[in-house]
């Protein structure tokens, strides 16, 4: 090998080494924990959908459904794999471990947590563990949000085993599935504000060492028929109206914000050190901004209406773009998917909307924002009835002006069940490293 050849070979090897090592992502497909690795910046190959089983439909069981989402594949837009977990327990949300090898999926009714190996072969996830001590170890009920931290998964509960109300907390498990610790949501009046004890989502900003939590409602309400619930004034009082800011390292709440109307999903914008977060309130239909003021104190304030709040469109899932300049918002009752321009987070502007279904809940977008996926189910007893009970996965392309549908899967026609949470995966060769870490 001559000198030039050796230099070229060395340079090539160094370049290979530089791109090879996986880095911690700032955000993963825009909404996952910042501690999640193996960011998919290119084409997501597989879409995993956590599905609620329906009695008498197929095997009737909750299941993880894998859909081929690669347009170049012969199976594009088709269900390529299912894993039934047995029974129906109100399948709801999922989350990856920090190394993205495993996908944890929870059930809000029986509190079971299913761990799927998606690292070995993402086309064929395998159930490798079932965790059934969430309630007995923590006293919490309704494992909702699964949020990766290094070597651990934080699980936000929705309720508790004592009264099935909304007072709850966060349980921490090791990646191996062992219970580590529990942290109650702040309750009562104190120097940090007045906590209601409710919980829903988790969002961490590592650079600021802050964690935000939001609030929903307890088992009694989320397992109740929605029509019955709405007509019950006492039950309607039992919704969260706070967000809490935590010292993440110390796992101690430091501030409680009044955010009326059940603030749900939390999305941090970490692009360019902007360090603000956004949430949507389900019952009051508003976007709320959480941001530091000029004195460095964190503040929460309503910055936009979502549709006509008086009609209770019921905002559910939101998805922020990677650059923090756009936000998708689904509203369940009117079945609309809306896009907000977030260039000025103090004053978001809706720039686009379509009726995407008779009911619509979750929204996930690719890292580049060019592909958007929607699913339909909210909760088994909250989904609409009769012909309005559409259950689907719909995939779209987004060109910045309009959504163009690419494929649709009717989950009832396929005898799968109610389509809820989605997560992306890809084979290792398709996985790109994050370009920065914070």
């Amino acid at each position: 090998m001559n000198t030039l050849t050796r230099r070229v070979a060395t340079a090539g090897l160094l370049a290979l080494l530089l791109i090879a090592t996986v880095r911690t992502a700032t955000a993963d497909e825009t909404c996952n924990s910042p501690y999640t690795a193996r960011l998919i910046k290119g084409q997501e190959q597989f879409l995993h959908v956590w599905v609620l089983g329906v009695k008498g439909m197929g095997d009737g069981s909750d299941k993880l459904v894998t859909v081929d989402s690669d347009p170049k594949s012969k199976d594009y837009g088709k269900v390529i794999h299912t894993v039934s977990v047995g029974g129906r327990g109100e399948a709801h949300h999922m989350g990856f471990t920090d190394d993205r090898r495993y996908l944890w999926a929870g059930r809000l009714d029986d509190n079971k947590i299913f761990v799927f190996d998606v690292g070995s072969d993402p086309a064929k996830p395998a159930l490798v563990r079932t965790i059934d001590n969430f309630e007995s170890s923590s006293g919490y009920v309704g494992p909702h949000t699964f949020y990766a931290t290094p070597g651990r998964v934080m699980i936000q509960g929705l309720s508790n085993s004592k009264d099935h109300g909304g007072v709850t907390g966060i349980a921490v498990y090791s990646n191996a599935g062992e219970f580590v610790a529990k942290y109650d949501m702040p309750t009562g009046k104190s120097a940090i504000g007045t906590g209601d004890g409710y919980g829903y989502d988790i969002g961490i900003n590592p650079a600021k060492n802050v964690m935000l939590t939001s609030s929903f409602t307890g088992w009694t309400n989320y397992m109740m028929d929605l029509g019955t619930l709405i007509k019950d004034p006492e039950a309607m009082k039992n919704f969260g109206s706070t967000m809490a800011l935590w010292d993440f390292k110390a796992m101690k709440p430091t501030q409680v914000f009044e955010v009326p109307g059940a603030p749900l999903e939390i999305r941090w914008n970490l692009a360019g050190g902007a360090d603000w977060a956004i949430t949507a309130t389900a019952l009051t239909s508003k976007l709320w901004l959480i941001k530091q003021d000029k004195d460095g104190k964190w503040q929460a304030k309503a910055v936009a209406d979502i549709g006509d709040p008086s009609k209770i469109p019921l905002p559910v899932d939101i998805s922020i773009t990677a650059d923090g300049k756009g936000l998708w918002v689904n509203t369940f009752m009117d079945g609309k998917t809306r896009y907000f321009d977030m260039t000025n987070p103090e004053s978001p502007k809706q720039t686009y909307e379509i009726v995407s279904g008779k009911q619509v809940n979750m929204v996930s977008q690719s890292w580049d924002g060019k592909r958007v996926y929607l699913t339909s189910s909210l909760l088994a007893n909250w989904d609409k009835k009769g012909a309005d009970d559409e259950q689907f996965l719909r995939a779209y392309d987004w060109d910045g002006k309009q959504l163009t549908r690419k494929f649709e899967l009717d989950f009832y026609a396929l005898k799968l069940g109610r389509a809820h949470h989605m997560k992306f995966s890809a084979k290792p060769a398709q996985v790109a490293a994050a370009d920065r870490a914070r």
Partner: protein
């Protein structure tokens, strides 16, 4: 020969080892995570045990087998997995640089001096021989102020159960023809292990901040002091 020993001793005494290393690694591309906060005070928070420290057979300096457990008890241990030719700015060079900064902090803190151990264990037993790891460790190996061990293993067969025990992922990168390269993909993790061989904190690239790690070490020291006082 005697003169050479005296010269080496002089270097060790006059020049802080980490300073030499930092100079030698000045070219290393390290990208530290942003830390826009004041860490909570040591002892003001808990570090619940996460898991037991992993064990297995390792090598240090030669081919005599040793149990990894001997490096993970009776001191506050920071253990991380590296490979010597890793050049990722948020990978192994960041881990090394962070440990170097922690070492300086330990040396400067009477509460921690003599209580902390650092361990780097190679991902790549094929290329990172015991000798290669000693070279990688440089003068840090001989600096007795903070023991710093540079370990490897016989083979992937002996390394694999250790990686599994810590939940540390690793994949060999293949080239376009499917041939294995020397490159590895892995998620940078650093494990804080207490005197009873329990993992008490796990840091990844987004949270690898020396100031935070030093406070975690002080928190464990305060916890032990409180236990002994009872």
């Amino acid at each position: 020969m005697k003169a050479a020993r005296i010269a080496l001793l002089a270097i060790l005494v006059i020049v802080p080892a980490s300073g030499v290393l930092q100079t030698a690694r000045a070219q290393d591309p390290v990208r530290r995570p942003v830390q826009d906060f004041v860490p909570p005070a040591a002892g003001s928070y808990r570090l619940p045990p996460i898991q037991d420290a992993g064990n297995g057979w390792v090598l240090e300096g030669n081919y005599f087998p040793r149990r990894l457990a001997r490096y993970t008890h009776d001191a506050y241990t920071l253990l991380t997995f590296v490979y010597t030719y890793c050049s990722d700015p948020v990978g192994c060079p960041l881990a090394y640089s962070t440990l170097d900064a922690v070492k300086n902090g330990v040396v400067a803190d009477q509460r921690l001096r003599g209580k902390v151990r650092l361990v780097c264990l190679s991902f790549d037993p094929t290329h990172d021989t015991p000798g290669a790891m000693q070279t990688y460790g440089g003068l840090n190996i001989r600096d007795t102020r903070v023991p710093w061990h540079f370990l490897t293993t016989y083979s992937m067969t002996t390394l694999a159960p250790i990686l599994d025990g810590y939940g540390q992922d690793i994949e060999v990168v293949h080239d376009a023809s499917g041939k294995a390269t020397r490159a590895r993909t892995h998620m940078l993790k650093m494990f804080l292990i207490d005197r009873q061989s329990r993992v008490r904190e796990i840091y990844s690239a987004a949270f690898l901040q020396p100031e935070v790690i030093l406070n975690d070490l002080r928190t464990l020291a305060m916890e032990d002091a409180a236990m002994q006082a009872r």
